[in-house]
């Protein structure tokens, strides 16, 4: 992912010191306090792996900032996943975790499996079957960059 370098001094001259400081602070809070809701439909259940990398799982879409999807998404479950996503408050982010969620993996030729990216807009893809601690750390770091960029560059 390419990170845009921002000329902060120039931004401050245009928008004022307080606005920029507030936005940077908001981004810092958001990226460090993101609560993730795991939706695991396959064998790589994401609870333990999320806790490994320091993200607290929540189990209510109304309290979640990040939706972590893992496992092959069947057509029947796709409707439920979209409903969960719609219930989350904005701004919201989606991680597709594991090969099955990234590109259907083993189930690529199945008539009953939907692509996660077709159902919800995915921000970060974490490959691996299952993803190891290294990939998870990379993924969470990438998600923090996404959150930071999205809030700072409004």
């Amino acid at each position: 992912m390419e990170i845009k370098e921002i000329d902060w001094l120039d931004q401050m001259r245009q928008q004022g010191f307080a606005a920029i400081t507030l936005r940077v602070f908001a981004a810092w809070v958001q990226e460090n306090a993101a609560a993730a809701m795991p939706v695991s439909m396959g064998c790589c259940s994401c609870f333990g792996q999320l806790q490994q990398v320091g993200v607290a799982p929540v189990f209510n879409p109304h309290h979640a900032d990040v939706l972590v999807v893992s496992g092959a998404l069947s057509n029947k479950a796709a409707f439920v996943l979209r409903r969960i996503y719609d219930q989350m408050p904005s701004p919201k982010y989606v991680i597709a975790m594991g090969t099955c969620a990234v590109n259907k993996g083993l189930f690529a030729h199945s008539y009953a499996v939907a692509d996660v990216a077709d159902i919800v807009p995915v921000d970060v893809f974490i490959p691996g079957c299952p993803p190891g601690a290294k990939e998870m750390t990379e993924g969470i770091r990438a998600l923090r960059r996404v959150i930071r960029d999205k809030i700072r560059n409004v």
């Binding site: 409707f79 009953a112 077709d118 159902i119």
Partner: protein, 191 residues
């Protein structure tokens, strides 16, 4: 003790056929060590009832019901019933050829566990059953309009599910034509 008289599979098959009219069980064979009876649609329930209750047979367990699709045949579906007799230590296979339009009588009255097998066969192959207490779909979506386990159905499916921003809901869209050769091979030949 009486069962000891029917030592071989063929003898046992002859014993079962003695209790029914000749046309009810037209064929009998031993396929890979298991006795296989081909039965007629009308006699299916009577035969299963007999096999369950007869003291020599005692096939008290219905292990499985499966279905096979033969696109070339006139009776294009073959239902296969697997029975187990724990008391007598025997297994038995019963075959029944059927079509899409003609319903098969449900065997839930004889074996209650047949209910889920028949639901699955109906949604996967489109074989209909009459006398079934609850013929809802078992696994697939309610709006599914295809029969996935038929030989004429492409393995990857004909539609895929995407979220439609304008409509605000998930909708089925037709699949793109397979481009790679490996994908084509998975699409079975249409009959």
């Amino acid at each position: 003790m009486e069962a000891a008289a029917y030592k071989t599979q063929e003898e046992f098959g002859q014993f079962i056929r003695l209790h029914f009219a000749r046309q009810d069980i037209p064929e009998q064979a031993v396929v890979s060590g298991m006795l296989t009876l081909t039965v007629l649609r009308a006699a299916l329930l009577r035969i299963l009832q007999f096999l369950r209750d007869d003291p020599v047979c005692r096939f008290t367990q219905l292990t499985d019901i499966t279905c096979v699709h033969y696109p070339d045949r006139a009776d294009c579906f073959s239902l296969v019933y697997h029975l187990l007799s724990p008391m007598m230590g025997r297994r038995l296979r019963i075959k029944l050829a059927t079509q899409e339009d003609v319903p098969v009588s449900s065997v839930t009255a004889v074996f209650a566990n047949a209910a889920w097998y028949e639901r699955e066969i109906r949604e996967m192959f489109g074989v209909s059953f009459e006398g079934h207490p609850d013929l809802r779909r078992l696994l697939t979506q309610d709006e599914t309009f295809f029969f996935p386990l038929r030989k004429t159905f492409p393995a990857a499916g004909k539609v895929r599910l995407v979220y439609d921003q304008a409509k605000g809901q998930c909708v089925y869209v037709p699949c793109a034509k397979p481009e790679k050769e490996s994908d084509v091979r998975l699409d079975r030949k249409m009959s």
